[in-house]
Amino acid sequence: MAAIEDLIGELSKLPGIGRKTATRLTYFLLKQPPEAGRRLARALDAVATRVGPCSVCGNLGETDPCVICEDTRRDRSTVCVVEEASDIGAIERTGEYRGVYHVLGGHLSPLDGIGPDDLRLDGLRARLSNGSSVREVIVATNPSMEGEVTATYVRGIVEAQSVRVTRIALGLPVGGDLEYADNVTIARALAARREME
């Protein structure tokens, strides 16, 4: 019983997974051939031992620096600041961005005990300090209140180093209907309107 209880306990620590789901997952695995469980264990072990944060940008990968920081074809004069390493994947999938990244590791949220010292801000300062080749920092934190506050905070740091700082535009989703967009989104899209070219 101890092994089963252990696994249920570990699984239920995952976000969005309660005890009930953890129990279901555990018994699902128990019904599979033993090899399935071992494969999962090996995958978890590989992630735990081989994957770590990039010492330059904070991206997660098996090499340090990460593949993006190592790639000489990327434009190192542009740094895109994101909250989480998983946000990099979303931007990379567009194929539109050729610069490098900086992962903060979250956003300011005093309610969750996350202050400026808990974000990778010193690392950002270091990347922008004297002799740096960075010309522009794009702040791509989430459009939540905490994401905006964090963006403002990052802006202060970047401006102190006399580097240009920009914020990704927030507005209506492409392919969506204006009628179904929520009020806040429409209000922001209106505030960020631009001349038609």
């Binding site: 005093p110 506050v149 403002t152 905070y153």
Partner: protein, 357 residues
């Protein structure tokens, strides 16, 4: 607005109730504890998805059950379910699930009159702010979103102040000030626009003196622009840090009610406070009716018995004028319901079930 159908499952002492509500309304007679106030609470829950009496959601689940469900059919069908286990609340409007509860708020509108309303006048400022917030959340587009943003920024700022993170606290000044400005300006506008009508209503209800309604902001601001609020936050920063909380902003404001220049809270008699409270509810009903285009459903929880005969007559006249829509009147005995209202269908409630002739 008119509610045609109501479904209640395992809510308070009501196991299951499926009723069609008559167009003009209904009188429900039941002893205390039989469930008549629970019926009103269930109806009002469809407006704000919160207990009318300030109870926690899990306290609303019938004893021994795991969840409750309420649905009301009006101009739209609004339904809400709550589950103790996951503390999950699900709101649907016309069977479409709302991503945020706030998106479902005010799709059905009602105003609830209860004897405890006197505490709006006689109690602390929290109750008066809550009153203003409810009226504006249901009548002013964008108010609820601004209020939620203000509260979220306030919680973050206070947490940072408590942890001694001055930098992080200051970072929340801007979003707090922007939302707080919207909240305070809307409240001030509503109070200014409603003061004369408040006097009218009090006079009609038999109050001889001058009844005034005044918005009273905290001591540090005269102006509600975001810039001004931010400046006030900077000025009080040292004190806020010492106290570990934000001392400037609409969350500290009050709605001052006075009679002949004297504060109703301290100097009003019970009768005067009751009159002011009824006037506030009528004002709420008129604001909702103006915003909605039709009067809200009126819920009366045993409010007539405590008014003297003269005031009762005058209140009924006002109701006919400002709340001509549907009414649900509950009282312990028929003798406590004004004769005028007894023309409506009469039901009795016992042990959480309704007897309908």
């Amino acid at each position: 607005m008119r509610l045609t159908q109501l479904t209640i499952r395992t809510f308070r002492n009501i196991a299951a109730l499926d009723i069609e509500l008559p167009a003009e309304g209904v009188v429900v007679i039941g002893e205390n504890g039989e469930g008549k106030t629970n019926l009103l609470e269930a109806i009002y829950y469809l407006v704000l998805f919160r207990s009318l009496r300030g109870a926690k959601d899990r306290e609303l689940v019938r004893f021994g059950d795991a969840s409750f469900f309420i649905a009301g059919e009006g101009p739209r069908r609004v339904a809400v379910g709550y589950e103790i286990a996951g503390r999950r609340k699900k709101v649907t409007v016309d069977r479409v699930e709302m991503k945020k509860l706030a998106d479902g708020v005010g799709r059905l509108t009602a105003v609830a009159f209860a004897p405890s309303d006197r505490t709006i006048v006689a109690g602390g400022p929290t109750g008066r702010r809550r009153y203003l917030d409810i009226v504006l959340a249901l009548s002013e587009p964008g108010y609820l979103a601004a209020l939620s943003a203000m509260r979220q920024a306030l919680r973050q700022r206070n947490a940072a102040l408590r942890n001694g993170h001055g930098d992080a606290a200051r970072a929340f000044d801007a979003p707090f000030a922007a939302a707080a400005g919207t909240v305070a300006r809307a409240r001030r506008r509503w109070v200014a626009a409603s003061a004369a009508r408040f006097q009218d209503l009090c006079t009609t209800l038999g109050e001889a003196g001058t009844c005034s309604l005044l918005y009273a902001p905290d001591h540090h601001r005269e102006d509600d622009t975001a810039g001004h609020i931010e400046a006030a936050l900077r000025r009080t920063f040292a004190r806020d840090t010492r106290r570990g909380m934000t001392t400037v902003g609409p969350h500290r404001d009050d709605l001052r009610l006075s009679l002949d220049g004297r504060d109703q809270r301290t100097y009003g008699s019970a009768g005067q406070q009751r009159t002011a409270a009824v006037a506030l509810r009528l004002l709420e009903a008129e604001s909702l009716a103006a915003a909605e285009g039709s009067p809200p459903v009126a819920l009366y929880d045993d409010v007539f018995a405590e008014l003297d005969r003269g005031r009762q007559e005058r209140l009924l006249a006002l109701i006919r004028e400002t709340l001509p829509g549907q009414a649900v009147v509950v009282a312990p005995r028929e003798s406590e319901v004004p004769r005028d209202l007894l023309g409506m269908p009469r039901w009795t409630m016992r042990g959480g079930t309704l007897d309908r002739p």
